[in-house]
Symmetry: C2
Subunit: 187 residues, 2 copies
DNA sequence: AACAATTCTTTACAAATGATAAGAAATTGA
DNA sequence: TCAATTTCTTATCATTTGTAAAGAATTGTT
């Protein structure tokens, strides 16, 4: 459980009291490669912290799988649009390796906000940061070629190639696997 | 000043006390069409509420202008990625009509968070909502054709065509004006 | 080890989009 | 109002990406 509080510290210091409150609504779980943590169609009620392993959020466009995002060790993954809107999510969370996670009960967490303002602040700062990432991703998609986006991805997280299939990377870049193969062949 | 508190009410009810505190750090301004409210290269220190008129956030890719977002009456516009990271923004805010705004001093606002938890909560909820919009926009860009994105845009906000030049709409859709003309000719 | 299934690459062709240029339409400013 | 500027459309050609199919490479399973 320690790793998550180290992660939290980067955003906002919280008291041992607050840490205990969060611990009480959190559980550590281990899941096997390819497990669907959260299926499509239900409101998101869990925030995951990845201790070890790797996960993605994906959805379907017609019968094509599209990867919205990847999340690696020491990061948080949640379907924020459903978490905040309370609407059922069209997206699923899947683990791509044998993965160890801490699952935080989001409903219980939001209740903690009333009695622990520093917890509210902590998660405000965490999600503000996630918001920044999402804004930057739009900039990245909007006026960069697939080639540029691929090059950017492998410089940003160079080991993604080793850990994620090119099929999933293509769907993340918004292109077909065939198109990604062509790009890779050129470079 | 009333319109902004009506807007706030949709997210979170706050006391008259909190409203007054916000009023004290806000000013109403009127600016002429095409005015640059916030230039590129400075950290974002102002959150705007649009009472009347229309604005956009844009940036440059090489010497090409790209519109990241539009904001209409009764909505908030701010360069969130700079607001939260405190880094200088590569983006500018420009008004596209003669526009009336309420400018909120963001530095002062963030200070209010300590003494008025309900103000912190209010803006948390406002930006959570903006975050949802941004996530949905990625989904919209990532696997929809330019044609689909255009059709979606005009059904979502039908008067945008009357108020914004096609050149800017094209840059928002991530295509060239020439390509947008072709799409419009087909439909 | 051997087979099956999946992933990745390559090829050929089709469709969409970009770049450039030219002209029409609309807007702006003196 | 008239000229100048900007915006919008159309056309042509080049480039990129998609689709479909086939085979190679890899992975998983028994």
């Amino acid at each position: 459980m320690n790793s998550i509080f180290l992660y939290f510290k980067k955003f906002h210091e919280i008291s041992t009291d607050s840490q205990n409150a969060i611990s009480l609504i959190s559980t550590t779980i281990s899941v096997k490669k390819n497990t669907i943590l959260q299926p499509i169609g239900h409101a998101c009620k869990t925030i995951y912290f990845i201790k070890k392993g790797l996960a993605r959020i994906y959805y379907f466009k017609d019968d094509l799988e599209i990867t919205e995002s990847f999340a690696f060790e020491n990061s948080i993954i949640a379907r924020a649009e459903s978490l905040f809107s309370k609407n059922p999510s069209r997206k699923a969370i899947q683990v791509l390796e044998n993965t160890e996670l801490i699952a935080i009960d989001a409903i219980a967490l939001f209740k903690l906000y009333d009695s622990y303002p520093e917890i509210e602040r902590l998660f405000r700062l965490i999600f503000e940061n996630a918001y920044i990432d999402t804004i930057n991703r739009i900039e990245n998609i909007q006026f960069h070629t697939a080639d540029e986006r691929y090059t950017f991805l492998i410089t940003e997280s160079s080991d993604i190639i080793k850990r994620v299939s090119l099929k999933l990377i293509a769907s993340y870049l918004g292109i077909t696997p065939v198109s990604l193969s062509r790009i890779r062949a050129k470079n």
